[in-house]
Amino acid sequence: MAQVAAFNGEVQMVVFRLADEEYAVPITQVQEINRMTEVTRVPRTPEYVEGIINLRGRVIPVIDLKKRFGLASRERGAETRIVVVEVRGETVGMVVDAVTEVLHLDGSDIEPPPPAATSVDAAYIQGVGKVEDRLLILLDLDEVFVRKEMAS
């Protein structure tokens, strides 16, 4: 099967969980992973915008990734994390159910997104990584954090 051009050779991915599915983003995009903290709500923003947080003196926006993808929301627990990523030169946070591991993925194990095989809109998916019998959904964060959706 065709490889995904963006992934050549070995890549290191941060794997996290949303509901029952596993997602991954390249470790080069991840700045840090924090426990859930107090979030200040921002009015006049879409529902999935959780608000803003104080990241050691910087104010960064945080979105709830499950709400962003229209997945059923679940109680936040001890495992809930904010994954701080760098997207389009901006630092943003995303709330995930849990961060599970960091793993190496070979480019040959990454395939283009199968149509309609996941619960997330294909536009946000760069590919699917196969690790033994697990399927990792590789997110395209540039698409996830597209500004135009904010305009509503």
Binding site: V42, V59, V92
Partner: protein, 646 residues
């Protein structure tokens, strides 16, 4: 040598030189005979040529070289300053500007300078207008070369004095050469002879009459020189005149001012350091962190109540405020950085539109934060263009109504409290409220309440998007974009803009700007569980109201405050929090333009210095919010933007 690393410096210095060239040319246009200005222009062009050649920007070097040649014609007095050459030089500056922008990595096509260069060459090569024109580059009657001028300038800068000595030998003197040599030698003992007429060779050949003229630099006084000369026998006359450093660049003393000007510039430069604005931003951020943490510590201690800590905190507080004010001062630049380009712009504009304009610039030394300065350039360009294009009448029209032919546009800046006020004022035709009203009606902006809007308020409609009453679309302005952009740009840096006008008398646009953007005084208020900050700049007063005072007029909630009706805005509703008003409510009265509105809040927390953090691109641009700040307890609070809320 890696030239890349010098590129930034080159670009920045070139821009400074271009600015100074522009200024000087404008001044020269007014005072065509002024040698001081000519010399300044020559020097700036020369420096640019050298820098450009080193950096390998051939076009810039070529162009400046040709400017220099032309300027030399003017400087030497072989040609006189006229409109043609000024225009030619301005044109060259414009091309240089483009070339420098390209060097800085700007986009665009490199302009073809060959025709310009050719015209400059032709002009310079043309026969001098009058060969008999006396050379003016003289000092005390001595013609000096560039090198000699520089020497004199340098010496003066170092505190030495320069004297011109006129020595007359006795008529009876037989050994003229010997006497002259003695004078020369004696003077060499007390100072340095920069120039002598006759020179040594002529002296040897006895190729002179009885008069010697010498330019001497010395750190001793006039008396020492007198003594040195008079100790020689057979001296009939001696006249000593000092060349003062401050001497005006007139008549005989041009050379001196040339030298000192140059040296003065160097001496000043050594006192300053160029710093990347990003580093200053970082510094400001860090100081901001410090302020936040100081507040945090103070808050902890209100609970812990440790006496010793209190003292330390007070000291820390003083240090941080000092640090903060120094960093703010470092970031301050005179508004001149923006204002300086306007005289040239107005000149060109007046010429294009066939109008006569006097531009008066006041308060250009007024300082404000670099980021604010960067933002106001474009809005000011727009306002000035409007003033000249729409505001001022043509000279003929002005004469017909008894105004002076030349219109006056005043651009002024001044400090007022924590703000900088910038005014653009013209004495033109003013704005007719009736026309604005008609236009607003046409655009459907007025609605049913038309009669509620008075003439003063109607003027504010020119700031609405797409609003333009210019009858003709000129190349300059009147395309119906602009005033709204001006307004939003100024509001984006926390400023506000107002317009006043009287038909027939002129228009004044007033811009209020905060001194700095990074740290402001704000009132912290609580609405439901959330804390918000309202910049003090917006707040007029705070009123404690019971619910019973709230009345409803035409479906809007109002309170009556000192006999005026004040409309209310329920913040909880505006901010999408749960509706309904709590038991106790306060009204924060904010002023936007000349409109007053009461914001209903639940609690007042207090006034505090806050550090403004930008919301970033992802969240930015939400109306009613101008940013966020981190409170003493580490939580983030949003900063409310009053104009966006009402």
């Amino acid at each position: 040598m890696d030239l890349e690393q010098y590129l930034g410096v080159f670009v920045e210095e070139s821009r400074e030189h271009l600015q100074s060239l522009n200024d000087c040319l404008l001044r020269l246009e007014q005072n065509p005979g002024d040698q001081g200005i000519l010399n300044e222009i020559f020097r700036a062009a020369h420096t640019m040529k050298g820098m450009a050649a080193t950096m390998g920007f051939k076009a810039i070097a070529d162009l400046t070289h040709n400017m220099e040649t032309a300027l030399d014609q003017l400087r030497s007095g072989r040609r006189s300053v006229n409109a043609a050459v000024i225009d030619l030089l301005f044109e060259a500056l414009d091309s240089l500007q483009i070339l420098v922008d390209l060097a800085a990595g700007g986009q665009g096509k490199e302009p073809d300078i060959s025709s310009l260069v050719a015209r400059l060459e032709t002009w310079a090569a043309n026969q001098p207008r009058a060969a008999t024109q006396s050379r003016t580059a003289v000092a005390g009657g001595l013609e000096l070369t560039e090198y000699e001028k520089a020497t004199v300038g340098e010496a003066l800068e170092q505190g030495q004095s320069a004297f011109v000595l006129d020595v007359t030998l006795a008529e009876s003197c037989v050994l003229k050469t010997a006497r002259a040599f003695l004078v020369y030698n004696n003077l060499e003992k007390v100072g340095d002879i920069v120039k002598a007429i006759p020179d040594l060779k002529d002296m040897e050949d006895e190729n002179f009459d009885r008069d010697l003229r010498l330019l001497v630099l010395t750190d001793k006084g006039e008396d020492a020189l007198r003594e040195a000369v008079l100790s020689v026998a057979e001296i009939e006359g001696l006249e000593i005149s000092a060349l003062a450093r401050e001497s005006a660049p007139a008549d005989g003393e041009v050379a001196v001012t040339v030298g000192t000007g140059q040296q003065g510039g160097k001496a000043r430069a050594s006192q300053t350091v160029r710093v990347n604005i990003e580093r200053l931003d970082e510094l400001m951020n860090l100081v901001g962190e410090l302020v936040i943490n100081r507040t945090r510590l103070a808050q902890i201690n209100t609970i812990e109540q440790i006496g010793e800590l209190k003292e330390t905190l007070e000291y820390l507080g003083r240090v941080t405020s000092d640090l903060q004010s120094i960093v703010m001062k470092v970031r301050m630049v005179p508004i001149e950085n923006v204002f300086s380009r306007f005289p040239r712009m107005i000149r060109d504009l007046a010429r294009d539109l066939d109008k006569e304009v006097n531009l008066i610039v006041e308060g250009k030394e007024t300082e404000l934060d670099r980021t604010v300065v960067d933002e106001i350039g474009d809005p000011l360009v727009h306002l000035l263009r409007n003033a000249v294009d729409h505001g001022l009448e043509t000279p003929a029209e002005r004469e017909a109504i008894g105004k002076p032919r030349a219109g006056t546009v005043t651009l002024s800046a001044r400090h007022e409290g924590n703000h900088v006020i910038i005014e653009v004022r013209d004495d033109g035709r003013g704005i007719d409220p009736a026309r604005i009203r008609a236009k607003a009606r046409e655009l459907g902006l007025l609605g049913a309440d038309e009669n509620w809007v008075d003439d003063e308020e109607i003027l504010a409609y020119v700031f609405r998007p797409g609003f333009s009453t210019a009858d003709s679309v000129t190349g300059v302005s009147g395309r119906g974009v602009g005033m709204d952009v001006v307004k939003s740009r100024i509001e984006s840096v926390g400023g506000r803009v107002e317009l006043q006008s009287r038909p027939g008398e002129g228009t004044v646009v007033t811009i209020h700007l905060p001194l700095t953007l990074a740290i402001i005084q704000a009132l912290l208020i609580g609405v439901r569980d959330e804390t918000y900050a309202i910049p003090m700049g917006f707040i007029d007063e705070i009123v404690d109201v019971g619910n019973d005072r709230v009345k409803t007029v035409q479906n809007r909630e109002v309170i009556v405050l000192r006999n005026t009706v004040l409309p209310l805005v329920e913040l909880s509703g505006r901010l999408g929090l749960d509706g309904g008003r709590g038991e106790k409510a306060y009204v924060v009265v904010v002023r936007v333009g000349n409109k007053r509105v009461g914001l209903v809040v639940d609690t007042l927390i207090g006034q505090q210095e806050i550090v403004i953090k930008n919301l970033g691109n992802y969240l930015g641009g939400i109306s009613g919010l101008s940013g966020a700040t981190i409170l003493g307890n580490g939580r983030v609070a949003l900063i409310l933007d009053a104009p966006g809320l009402i």
